[in-house]
Assembly symmetry: C2
Homo-oligomer: 333 residues x 2
DNA sequence: TTGTAAGCGTTATCAA
DNA sequence: TTGATAACGCTTACAA
């Protein structure tokens, strides 16, 4: 039973002027006698008046709202990107409507349509398997959009992500420098773009350092703690003399360190480990995990900035824009 | 340059009917000849028509949107609550507009006003120091709202939070059971409600077990890893024989375990540690940290359910509603 | 410098 | 069973 808010008409009545004058006064558009202005402002404040944005949206044809479809509200990396988005959006007078798809392609589509109904001015989409469909639909609906977090081939819209490939090269090089040998790699899921990019970076760094790529040193870790643990156990039986492990993400790297500890192998003394992502547990582990920091805020800021360009009709740079991951040196390496 | 979406008028034209009929057909309200219905549905699909929700909001006087003001998008506990909110909201056909205040009272107020302008149907507010002001403003504006995550005295609106007090009792009892002595307590910030509730629970459990409350066993930890570390170092110099430590949150508990390890004290053999929150690092530490799980999803779901009641005009139960924290037994205790 | 009135895209009332 | 038409609250010509 929402006590209905005052309308511009009531403000006008109270200030003894017409509605157009109130509108002009409140928006500081067009002429208003200073005297009248103060009277209107006072009336508005007295009534605790706030313009109805849905009405404004109708006539202005814009909501100054950006839709964000995220696969997981609880992921701190993803939400770090949303934070970056939010900052830039706020600076430019835009609001965010954030919705969670839980990674489901169907939901993603449904949400995108809902947002279209809300007349969002632009859409920020975290790439998932369902992304190409949504992109096509939104493009044909004329909604400006930018895809982030992962790269997808031939999408025809700007894309922003971390440079997982280059980051993996850095990590691998570091391990090679410190051990003088080719490190093992605990790989992520084969069907995840970032995991593949990290694998490619590992391979490339190996080659650049004159090592042959040995697939038997690559163990599937599925980006999980337990998987990283078991991968390392398996690795150690096959290569008891290994000195360097590059884990495709922090979680599997942490699992790896646990396996090492259980085997009585000291880290970093005997085996050095490097992870990827820079999640909180990596900072708290013992030893703290050396890792590559995902530039989450920067990705969000870049994506939002690009979207702003699109909305304002700049001709669009597709990128892809890859932001470097920063090496965070800690004790595990 | 948003290619403008088709309107109901265009659908009507294409289907050869009036707009009222299209509206009735699409909303399944009122009579529409089956034949006409299919024709309209087809026309709508052909045009890729989606009703303009801002227009709907104008005439319906409701947006079916709930505003959520969160202090921190990156906090997985908070966002867990938002996830719970989202679930219930979705089931009832509501959408969320999530905005971040970064804990600033001013922003919180500004955001609440913005949301009022958007004509949200209800507001979910994570309690912060600025909350009482916002609550007053929104109440006088007639916006249904529910406060969550922390309890604030005399707010006059429903409140939902975890039962930190009871959880702390459980933790303390567990440590007493296992060590036969009064544990130390690494306290959180004095001005944070949940930290105080946990302290009270600790004190209460002590008393219930016949121990005197000894303030010198309570060390400030400020909810931080490093603070927990230093607190434990200090504690150990004062009480080298301590056998149980209850940390007010996981972060300080993890810091505590690190201090123990550095001192060559084994956990759980020599000293047992219990934390609070159940954040990811607690599961990954060595040993994994026994802790109390914050029922984040449940808090969100409860808050949203209460809000729904308010919106539908039920007479409102203020609560406060305290959801039990669940003991997660791991190896540190 | 101000006010009147025409939309914006829906829904809902009321006649037909 | 359907279609004009009057709202909803605002902005913006256009007139005064």
């Amino acid at each position: 039973m929402n006590k209905s808010s005052p309308t511009i008409r009531e403000v006008a009545a109270r200030a003894g002027v017409g509605v157009a004058t109130v509108s002009r006064a409140l928006n500081r558009s067009g002429y208003v006698k200073p005297d009248t202005l103060t009277r209107i402002l006072k009336a508005a404040r007295d009534l605790n008046y706030v313009p109805n944005r849905t009405a404004q949206a109708m006539v202005r044809g814009t909501t100054r709202t950006i839709g964000v479809i995220t696969p997981d509200l609880e992921s701190s990396i993803i939400m770090g990107m949303v934070k970056g988005i939010n900052r830039v959006a706020y600076q430019h007078g835009y609001m965010l409507t954030i919705m969670e798809s839980e990674g489901s392609s169907e939901w993603e589509r449904a949400i995108a349509q809902t947002m279209r109904g809300m007349r969002i001015d632009g859409l920020l989409l975290f790439a998932t398997p369902g992304t190409p469909t949504v992109v096509r639909e939104m493009q044909s609906a004329g909604i400006p959009l930018v895809v982030l977090d992962r790269l997808v081939e031939g999408l025809g819209v700007p894309q922003v992500a971390a440079d997982h490939y280059a980051g993996a090269c850095v990590a691998t090089n570091l391990l090679i420098d410190q051990t003088g040998e080719a490190p093992a790699f605990i790989a992520g899921p084969r069907d995840v773009w970032s995991a593949e990019a990290r694998l490619k970076g590992y391979q490339e760094a190996l080659k650049a350092n004159g090592f042959d790529y040995d697939p038997s040193r690559v163990i599937p870790g599925e980006f999980g703690f337990d998987e990283g643990f078991h991968a390392t156990k398996a690795l150690l039986t096959r290569y008891p003399q290994i000195h360097g492990i590059f884990a495709a993400n922090d979680l599997s790297g942490l699992g790896s360190m646990k396996a090492l500890e259980e085997e009585g192998i000291r880290c970093p003394n005997d085996v050095k480990v490097v992870g990827f992502d820079d999640i909180l547990p990596a900072r708290l582990s013992n030893p703290p995990l050396t890792t590559l920091h995902q530039p989450a805020k920067g990705i969000g800021e870049t994506a939002m900035t690009l979207l702003l360009g699109l909305i304002e009709g700049d001709d669009c740079q597709l990128g892809p824009f890859l932001l470097p991951a920063e090496l965070i040196r800690r004790k595990s390496c």
